[in-house]
């Protein structure tokens, strides 16, 4: 297993390096200038030139690349062009918010998806199965930003059940008790997490249903039934355990979906996470922030997929990690 692990870690580092290099090239070659006034104010060319010098964008691209890698090797992500603060600090502020959102969305995604998949498999080809197939397909097909906008409009602006954006209520949060603060955070988390979670759950449910139906056709399930084991026990104890294995590997794949979905959902809900940070940075041509967030997301996806492989291997004795 150790050689496999070392190979995967090496491959992961190579992938991160390649992604950072490609992103560096892409953001610098894309049209646009980081220091132009964005709100239609007159351009002061001398001031712009001076800013280019201060932030080093007046140097040749290869030199900027080497400097960036050298800084990266020292653990420095640079200073934001648009916000004039260390990128590491900005990511440090945004990361917990994205982790909270992604983890909650993941919980909704898998809890709901698995439950629906199991329910459907137990009632395969019945009316409820057909209805849920259509419903899950509907949610799976929805663009996350559109679902977010609809939830925001209905439950935020019209019904006032949930806040329409942000992470806490800036007026009252400090005066709330601990439980009040917790509830305030949950209220703000609800809509963005549901948006991401519902779309993901649509896919997970379909995946879970298919895996469970396949497992239910296996010989050991037939044996269990022949021995007179109750159908619910057959479903949960025998078939589901087997059918959960492919869903675990889906966990690793869910991470990129959640992180890319977060870009849109965080923007819709003004959720101050990595996605919104990256989206704002792209618009502002804030190269260090774009690179910093890309680096982090890429590393998270690589590590997530590695962990998913390890968990799958641990859960399934048929898998050996030596190949």
């Amino acid at each position: 297993m150790l050689p496999w692990l070392l190979r995967r870690v090496a491959a992961g580092i190579a992938i991160v390096f390649a992604v950072v290099t490609l992103t560096f090239a892409a953001v610098h070659l894309a049209p646009g200038e980081p220091f132009q006034p964005a709100d239609g104010r007159p351009v002061n060319r001398a001031a712009t030139e001076r800013l280019r010098h201060v932030f080093g964008t007046d140097r040749p691209l290869p030199e900027q690349y080497v400097r960036y890698l050298a800084a990266l090797a020292r653990g420095e992500l640079g200073e934001s062009f648009s916000k004039r603060r260390p990128v590491a600090a900005m990511i440090g502020n945004a990361l917990p918010n994205t982790v909270l959102l992604a983890a909650t969305a993941l919980l909704i995604d898998f809890a709901l998806g698995i439950a629906i998949g199991v329910f459907q498999a137990a009632r395969v080809r019945r009316r409820s199965d057909v209805a849920l197939t259509n419903i899950t397909l509907f949610f799976y097909s929805l663009p996350t930003f559109w679902l977010g906008l609809v939830l925001l409009l209905v439950f935020g602006q019209w019904l006032h059940w949930f806040p329409v954006g942000g992470i806490t209520d800036p007026v009252v949060y400090d005066s709330l008790s601990f439980a009040g603060k917790l509830l305030d955070r949950l209220r703000h988390l609800a809509l963005p997490a549901l948006t991401l979670g519902l779309v993901g759950a649509g896919g997970t449910a379909r995946f879970q249903r298919a895996a469970l139906l396949e497992a239910l056709g296996q010989d050991y399930v037939r044996t269990a039934r022949a021995k007179g084991v109750a159908e619910s026990r057959v479903l949960v104890r025998h078939a589901l355990r087997d059918a959960l294995l492919p869903v675990i590997s889906l966990l690793g794949l869910a991470l990129p979906f959640l992180l890319t979905g977060a870009v849109l959902v965080e923007t819709v809900f003004s959720w101050p996470g990595l996605g919104k940070l990256a989206a704002d940075a792209i618009s502002a041509r804030d190269y260090p922030v774009v690179l910093g967030t890309t680096l982090l997301v890429c590393a998270a996806v690589v590590v997530g997929s590695l962990l998913a492989d390890l968990v799958t291997a641990a859960a399934d004795p048929r898998i050996r990690l030596s190949a």
Binding site: A38, R41, N44, R84, P163, L182, T267
Partner: protein
């Protein structure tokens, strides 16, 4: 036998406990005149809170609350002379000779950390704004001022290099006085990223409390403010992703104010919310289509279409601007007769008129210049080249996209093909700077004076004259406008310059939006300054009988 699952009950009990505990908030008890909390829905985050290194509108909104000028523009005040200004840090001033301006500071003015505001702070501020290492965007505009010195602790003396109509405006408007005792030890080269920009010390009606990047910025009233205690106790900016989200926050009651609505849809949303009052004010922006008079991507050669002024004039005549205005804004905007926002009300004079919509005259002009539809495809051509061009429009502006489509449709009627290129704002900026465009839909946000933007935008060698318009007459008129000494001659020179521009048609002036702010109806005394929306926030109030629970929190 079946057993009842215990978990759902436990979960329900826990949820009820949390809800019960959550309802036990520590409620504040603030009552009276000075309890209001105003939440402003901002459309972008703040960049830095150190004025010399920022020119972003959102930063300016916060500066207006925490850092004072020597004097400020009165609502509707003229930038010519000093009559249009009201005291701030300086309680009076006088001209000791035509080139020397003396300010007397108000002895009551204090920095929020204790020390008095002194003339040394004023001299330090001028040195900072003009320091090449600090690299202030305002450095060039201060070029007429030779020096600023402190005569004594409360007297600052400005020496000018020459006489011109906006001497006073330049002396006071571009600089927020900075605390020398805090910033004096910060190396100028590091001001772009200085800590002060994240936690400033001010002297204004509100003091800085905290800034959570990407989320909120909070200020608290300085109850000892020397010009009068602000009635609002807390100011909070909530940063939304865009204008739509900001309006949603205000409509949902999670924010109290948004400075613009722009489209009829947004205005209706605010009206339908029921708890908002709308406040119209003159806008500081204008939008136009710019012609590139040089070849697309090759500024050494003239543009095959737009180098010809008759073709440009024809396109102006072929554009039905009143109809476009009605379609997009339902009347909530005006057509500027020159490159000017509604803010410059003194220039909206009868002498400057918008050319009429006249497709017959447009067709005659185009035909006269040899552009005819020789092959019957509906598009005019000359020497085998179609009368066709690209129009770049930022994808972030729905309004400008609508205008692009309307322009395309209207110009098609006179045999002109318009190819719309939607692109990101940064990409459009890049194209403008490199000259790689035929035409572009641009919006400009201006200062109270035309001096800082018109020469740069339309004058020869101007940093933002992307279309390479060049007219000796126009430049001469601008020079008169920026150097004449009497207000009447200044106005006459600007009118003449805009008349020249209308004749040469380097662009089509399309609209200047009626700015409308939406503010929660419990707020009283709302006054909005067109050039700086929130500059008068410290005079707003929420009457005691209108205070809600959120206003009282933390009191």
């Amino acid at each position: 036998m079946t057993t009842q699952p215990r978990f759902p009950h436990a979960a329900t009990a826990l949820l009820l406990a949390v809800l019960a505990a959550a309802s036990c908030t520590r409620r504040g008890g603030c009552t009276g005149e000075y309890c209001g909390t105003l939440v402003i829905a901002g459309t972008s985050d703040v960049t830095t809170l150190l004025p010399p290194v920022s020119d972003a509108a959102i930063d300016r909104d916060v500066f207006d609350q925490i850092l004072l000028r020597l004097a400020d523009l009165a609502p509707g005040g003229s930038t010519i002379g000093d009559a249009g200004f009201v005291p701030q840090l300086a309680n009076r001033w006088e001209w000791t000779d035509p080139l020397t301006l003396v300010f007397h500071l108000d002895p009551r003015a204090r920095w929020h950390d204790g020390p008095s505001v002194t003339a040394a702070d004023v001299a330090f501020t001028f040195a900072a704004y003009t320091d090449t290492a600090v690299n202030s965007p305002d450095r060039n505009t201060l070029g007429h001022i030779a020096s600023v010195s402190a005569l004594d602790s409360l007297t600052a003396v400005f020496h000018f290099r020459d006489r011109y109509p906006e001497m006073f405006y330049d002396a006071v408007f571009h600089m927020r006085i900075l605390p020398a005792h805090v910033l004096g030890s910060v190396p100028p080269a590091t001001w772009q990223t200085a800590e002060f920009g994240r936690a400033p010390v001010g002297d204004g009606p509100f003091r800085f409390v905290r800034w959570t990047p990407g989320q909120t910025l909070e200020l608290a009233a300085d109850s000892t403010f020397f010009l009068g205690r602000p009635h609002l106790r807390r100011l909070i900016w909530r940063f939304a992703s865009d204008l739509n989200t900001a309006i949603t926050q205000v409509a949902a009651g999670e924010a109290d104010a948004v400075e613009v609505l722009i489209t009829p849809t947004n205005i209706k949303r605010a009206q339908d919310a029921g708890h908002l009052t709308l406040y119209p004010y003159s806008g500081s922006t204008y939008t136009f289509l710019r012609f590139n008079l040089r070849a697309n991507g090759d500024s050494a050669h003239p543009h095959t279409i737009f180098a010809d002024p008759d073709v440009r004039r024809a396109l102006v005549l072929a554009t039905d601007r009143p109809r476009m205005l009605q379609s997009v804004f339902a009347g909530h905007a005006k057509i500027p007769p020159g490159p000017m926002p509604q803010l410059w009300a003194w220039l909206w004079v009868p002498q400057l008129t918008v050319p009429p919509f006249d497709t017959a005259q447009a067709s005659r002009l185009l035909s006269g210049r040899g552009w005819r539809d020789t092959n019957g495809d509906g598009v005019r051509d000359r020497n085998g080249k179609k009368l066709s061009f690209h129009l770049s429009v930022p994808s972030t502006s729905a309004v400008r996209q609508q205008y692009a489509q309307l322009l395309q449709e209207q110009l098609k009627a006179v045999g002109v093909e318009v190819l719309i290129d939607q692109m990101e704002t940064a990409t459009q900026q890049e194209r403008l700077h490199s000259g790689a465009f035929d035409t572009a839909l641009e919006s400009w946000n201006t200062d109270p004076s035309p001096t800082s933007s018109v020469p740069g935008n339309w004058g020869r060698g101007g940093g933002s004259n992307f279309g390479h318009y060049a007219s000796a007459t126009f430049d001469r008129q601008i020079a008169v406008a920026t150097s004449a000494t009497s207000p009447d001659s200044v106005t006459a020179a600007w009118i003449a310059a805009f008349g020249t521009l209308a004749q040469d048609a380097p662009g089509i002036m399309l609209f200047s939006v009626d700015m409308i702010a939406a503010v929660d109806s419990r707020v009283a005394g709302v006054r909005i300054r067109p050039d700086s929306w929130w500059a008068l926030l410290w005079t707003w109030r929420i009457p005691p009988d209108k205070l809600n629970e959120r206003d009282r929190v933390g009191g």
